[in-house]
């Protein structure tokens, strides 16, 4: 049972690591489980799994880039009243581009490691069909900053649409719009200056 769980943990490792070491690690498990105990070996396997995905594959950089990009775009949208100003859009675009570049550098590192492995263990990459089918370097996502940029632009557009929808709802309900809290673009500067508590029927009575 524990051997099957350990095998499953090994199977969950990145393919590059699994192909290289999984069989040997399973053999080590068989050799040491009696002396070390299954618990410590399973914990070691779990730690190894996290280490390989988060640190060695640079997946954390990808996650950080996505989270950072979304956060920055959100902050820009939240802080800028006029989200259509060139400054706001420019800052959003630059932050997204910066995050994509950060992720890209992580991808290049992983790609370099993969290239070294390819050179060191050519037998694992020996199939010409396989090498023709796969790109020369690994890190398929991290090496495509343009794809990241497009992704974040899509997120940005959706955020714009959501913001505009919110403005339309606010304008339709009248809440906040008259007080000048939600300038809709259809209101004039003069209209926005009208105080919320003004009551036209009183002025009619005064006349």
């Amino acid at each position: 049972m524990t051997r099957a769980i350990y095998g499953a943990l090994l199977w969950l490792h990145p393919p590059h690591f699994r192909e290289r070491f999984a069989a040997e690690m399973l053999w080590l498990f068989d050799e040491t489980v009696a002396a070390e105990g299954a618990g410590s070996l399973l914990a070691d396997g779990l730690l190894s799994l996290m280490r390989q995905w988060l640190l060695r594959r640079m997946t954390w950089k990808l996650a950080a880039a996505v989270a950072g990009g979304v956060l920055e775009v959100g902050i820009v949208l939240a802080l800028s009243r006029n989200i259509y100003s060139p400054g706001a859009v420019g800052v959003s675009g630059l932050s997204v581009r910066g995050n994509a570049r950060a992720a890209d550098s992580g991808g290049l590192t992983a790609g370099r490691a993969a290239a070294q492995h390819r050179a060191a263990r050519p037998e694992l990459h020996a199939s010409p069909a396989d090498s023709a089918a796969t790109p020369a370097r690994m890190a398929p996502v991290g090496e495509k900053p343009l794809a990241f940029f497009v992704l974040f632009v899509i997120v940005l557009v959706y955020a714009f649409q959501g913001h505009r929808f919110g403005l339309r709802v606010a304008a339709a309900s009248g809440a906040g719009s008259a007080a000048g809290r939600y300038p809709t673009g259809t209101e004039t500067r003069e209209a926005r200056r009208v105080p919320a508590k003004s009551k036209p029927h009183l002025s009619i009575l005064a006349d």
């Binding site: 070491f21 190894s48 492995h117």
Partner: protein, 118 residues
């Protein structure tokens, strides 16, 4: 010290133990684990995950290399590893660095006696 060597030092505990285990002879993964346990008197034990993570890094860096040796009757899953020339140089440089560190520590702690717990 060459800039190439400087980038490797100081070695982590696991890396130092692995290089020390491979300094004498080429070993397979289980052999490395046993040798590390012996060197440290059982105080430091490497798990397979830590061992192969380090071996992956060290082989990628050219510090350790896999040998094609297969003894008769060996489990086919066994692979043997050995130090490269670069690996030996790194290990020697690290040992020299640690000697200096120990000298310095002894100078500052002349009267202190180590506990005999281990």
């Amino acid at each position: 010290m060459k800039p190439v060597l400087r980038s490797f030092l100081p070695l982590s505990t696991a890396t130092l133990h692995i290089l020390l285990a491979l300094a004498g002879e080429e070993r397979h993964g289980y052999g490395i684990m046993q040798e590390v346990a012996r060197q440290s008197g059982g105080q430091y034990k490497l798990g397979p995950g830590t061992l192969y993570d380090n071996l992956q890094k060290l082989t990628d860096q050219g510090v350790v290399t896999e040998t094609g040796r297969r003894a008769a009757g060996d489990d086919p899953r066994r692979r043997y590893y050995r130090l490269t020339g670069l690996g030996r140089t790194i290990l020697a440089t690290e040992v020299t660095r640690l000697e200096g560190l120990v000298r310095e520590a002894r100078r500052h702690l002349p009267m202190a006696r180590p506990e005999r717990a281990i």
